[in-house]
């Protein structure tokens, strides 16, 4: 809609902002004691426009957003220019926010620029009711409007205003936070990953809510996300950040179909799609460098398949690449459309055999009066890859922990084949959070050696071999976990689980907190090792796109009960149960690259 804005042009020396522009950031730098973290970011947001800011973890999205709101964490300093147009109806010169005194900023915050943060669990004051959060933010004359404001974010129960944050679900909290952020009727709402901590279906609802409010109020939104699919679905324009700088910007549609920077292309290629199963999931090799380390070159050069010599000699400027588009790549991008695997017999479900590897009958688990598992039946054949999906709290983790022997079930039966083998040689697990799944006090090698010591005597493998199995150099054995990236930690966790050569590997959302490109690597790794070693997989996730890539069969869990199960493709393409249908509908479509012609030269 607003793609004709002069987005991202070199800094405008005049005081006036072009008409229609609400926020203009030029050459924004954020540094920590002289070391740049964000380096020369330009950003323009038009009135009523939705701009997406995407990029891998650590690329500087949040710091950019907080610099705009004047809320950088202590110790960090911002340079450059951040200008906000004069309030509508009162023409005048724009307000410079960079370096503005707290007094000025406080007037702007809430009333002209709202900020919504990632974690709804931490964003609200635990000691204040939902209503109090709203009331204290509402301008004086509107103090009584709490009920209306809550209704605007879809909370119709007036009782919610009297509840405390700990009495609300994550989705409710985020709604209250949105209402509070909007209480001052800001012209620009900065939403920093507002749904990352929420369930898939809730994520979808909140995003839809934001889109609705944005449309209704004609408010501008700066949406920060690492989920490209969300950005492409909801935003007018998308800006890709990497190592503290902007690599590409353009309309959402154009970027989705024809990226003009290899990094964007890489991200798109790494995205799993719920509609199809990729033959190979391709992540970008390597990891995001620190802004300071790549100051005089293309920040992406190290990881770029199309790198040429000139990429390393100077920092490529943002150059126009078609209508309203800019790219920081000196070269033309060669897209490689992703091949879809044929829905062939390879992925077809195995026939139920007489000797399943795992048989679960009527498994129940109660915590006090709360029922986590209400009688679950499950079977896994040797070498089978089973997906377990369901919303948060549906009992997925509880089931996994019962299988692992970490939780004592309240009832039901779990049988492994062959009987008599110690449980730890049959089943192992990769846990969700890579940051805690390795003992921080132990070198990686020691962790692996300890695990390998638990294998059957003939099958013990040295740490170096295990590391190579998961694609890490053997030299990593001497490192402590804090030196590894999230993806690397998760690889070590996989190596640890495989060290005892289990028959069944349980993966409890192993990629939920990883970037797409890292996720692609891990999923690919799991696919290969399970195929090579013949290990069965129980893959727990709430991400249907992921489950499509890696499993043969899925089981849908709701409130501790299996509500649907069947071959993955069949269930996802034509879900039976109402809940499964809602789940499928909440996944944004993956972008479909249109091929070479999408790339303008």
């Amino acid at each position: 809609m607003t793609a004709d804005l002069p987005a991202g042009l070199p800094a405008d020396p005049s005081d006036e902002l072009p008409p229609g522009v609400l926020l203009s950031v030029r050459g924004l730098g954020v540094g920590l004691g002289g070391r740049p973290i964000v380096d020369g970011v330009d950003l323009t947001v038009g009135a009523g426009e939705t701009v997406g800011l995407v990029g891998e973890s650590g690329s500087g999205k949040s710091l950019t957003a907080r610099a705009v709101a004047g809320l950088l964490p202590p110790g960090l300093t911002a340079t450059g220019s951040i200008r906000l147009a004069a309030p509508a109806g009162r023409p005048g010169p724009p307000v410079e926010l960079a370096g503005a005194p707290e007094r000025v900023l406080r007037k702007i915050r809430g009333r002209r620029i709202g900020l919504l943060m990632q974690d709804p669990f931490a964003m609200l004051n635990p000691l204040l009711t939902a209503g109090a959060h709203l009331a204290e933010t509402l301008p004086r004359p509107a103090r009584g409007e709490v009920t209306q404001r809550l209704a605007e974010v879809g909370i119709t129960d007036p009782d919610v205003a009297r509840r405390y944050p700990f009495q609300l679900s994550g989705g409710m909290r985020q709604r209250v936070a949105i209402a509070a952020a909007l209480a001052g009727d800001p012209e620009l709402l900065i939403a920093d990953e507002p749904t990352t901590a929420l369930d898939a279906t809730i994520q979808h609802e909140i995003m839809q809510l934001l889109a609705r409010i944005q449309a209704a109020r004609g408010m501008a939104v700066l949406l920060i996300t690492h989920d490209l699919r969300v950005a492409f679905e909801l935003c007018d324009r998308v800006q890709v950040m990497y190592a503290g700088r902007v690599l590409e910007t353009g309309s959402a549609k154009a970027l989705a179909t024809g990226p003009s920077h290899p990094y964007t292309l890489g991200l798109i290629n790494a995205l799993p799609a719920v509609e199809r199963t990729a033959v190979r999931l391709e992540g970008i090799p390597g990891s995001v460098p620190r802004a300071a380390d790549v100051a005089g070159q293309c920040a992406f050069a190290e990881r770029c398949a199309q790198r040429r010599d000139d990429c390393l000699t100077a920092r490529p400027p943002l150059r126009p690449a078609g209508a309203g588009r800019l790219t920081a790549c000196l070269h033309e991008v060669v897209p490689r459309p992703v091949a879809s695997a044929p829905e062939g017999p390879a992925a077809a479900a195995r026939e139920p055999s007489a000797q399943p590897l795992l048989l679960v009958e009527g498994l129940r688990k109660q915590y006090g009066t709360a029922v986590a598992l209400a009688g679950v039946d499950l079977r896994i054949e040797p070498g089978e890859r089973l997906g377990l999906v369901g919303e948060s709290g549906s009992g997925k983790t509880t089931l996994a922990r019962c299988l692992l022997g970490l939780t004592e079930p309240s009832g039901g039966r779990i049988t492994f084949q062959p009987p008599g083998t110690p449980r730890h040689r049959v089943v192992q697990c990769v846990f969700q959070d890579p940051s805690t799944s390795l003992n921080p006090a132990m070198p990686v090698g020691a962790t692996l050696a300890e695990a390998s010591g638990r294998a059957a005597p003939g099958e013990r493998r040295p740490p170096g071999e295990l590391l190579e199995l998961v694609g890490l150099p053997a030299a990593y054995a001497t490192l402590r976990p804090h030196r590894l990236s999230g993806g690397e930690k998760q690889r070590v966790a996989i190596a640890r689980a495989l060290a005892v050569r289990p028959e069944l590997l349980i993966c409890d959302e192993p990629t939920a907190s990883l970037d797409v490109s890292v996720q692609a690597h891990i999923l690919e790794l799991l696919r290969t090792v399970s195929a090579e070693l013949g290990t069965a997989l129980l893959f727990v996730t709430h991400d249907l796109a992921v489950v499509r890539q890696i499993t043969d069969r899925i089981v849908v869990l709701l409130h501790g009960r299996v509500v649907e199960s069947g071959p993955t493709a069949a269930v996802l393409d034509s879900p039976d149960h109402d809940y499964t249908r809602r789940l499928v509908a909440s996944v944004p479509p993956a972008p479909a690259l249109t091929g070479r012609d999408a790339c303008t030269s």
Partner: protein, 312 residues
Amino acid sequence: MVFARVATRRLGAVVVLLLVLSVLTYGLLALAPGGPEQALLGERASTPETRAAIRLQYHLDEPFPVRYWYWLSGALGGDFGNSVYFRQPVLSVIGERLPVTTTLAGFAIVLTLAVGIPAGLAAGLRRGSAIDRGVTFGTLVSLAFPPFGIALILLYTFGVALRWLPIYGSDQVANYVLPAIALALGQAAVVVRQTRAAALDVGGQDYVTFARARGLSRLRVWGSYSLRNAALPVMTVAGLLAAANLTGAVFVEQAFSLPGLGSLLVQAVNQKDIPLVQALVLLGGAVVIAVNLLVDLLYMVIDPRVRHGAAA
């Protein structure tokens, strides 16, 4: 009524605790060498008849459980016995000295909080600044300085050299200024450390950033966000300190010759004045419990999570 329920639920535990405490103290005192005989006889020669009469009167020859039972049945009826040394009902001996201790404790805790909380907040909110470093160093030293040393220094400086304040007595407000300062100095350091940590913790919380992002006034962000949330851990510490003061600030009372419960205890222990020590220890236990209960109730007032957790 949530409060009432919590309070009554505690009562049972309190009774058990005090009973255990009384058995332990009584046993310790009864089994230890020495005894009240010497205190009763003074440091003088005595006749065997007198000693026999005393042993009979104080049941000194009866087995420990019997003696304890005499004490307990008296105590349950509100009679904690007579102080051996003072020849008065224990309760009136304590009652006379209680105002001294409560005045000192009240004074000290007010000073402690009035100095400790602002200093801790100032340090915590400006981490690494000159103020922070100064305050942190100050707390280190005052924590490390032996408490009786502080008392003597204050006594010399303000009582003798400058003559600003009286150096003995217990019946004027001015008598409590120096002791309260001596007591508060070390305690304020504890509060500062706790407040600083709480302020650091709270300052980094998303909800404070979110509050600022909504353009809330500085006062509101400070008051209802930083201060209120930081208050919770600080309250616990303040409660512990208040309890310690109320059970007798031994060193300060000794140094300033204040006739409070702390110096009374030291004296009673030295005289092996069993009924008095017993009552003082139980009073101490009761005070600690009461203060803890008060802190918990305050927690419930301030923190809805605790309030509703308790109601569930």
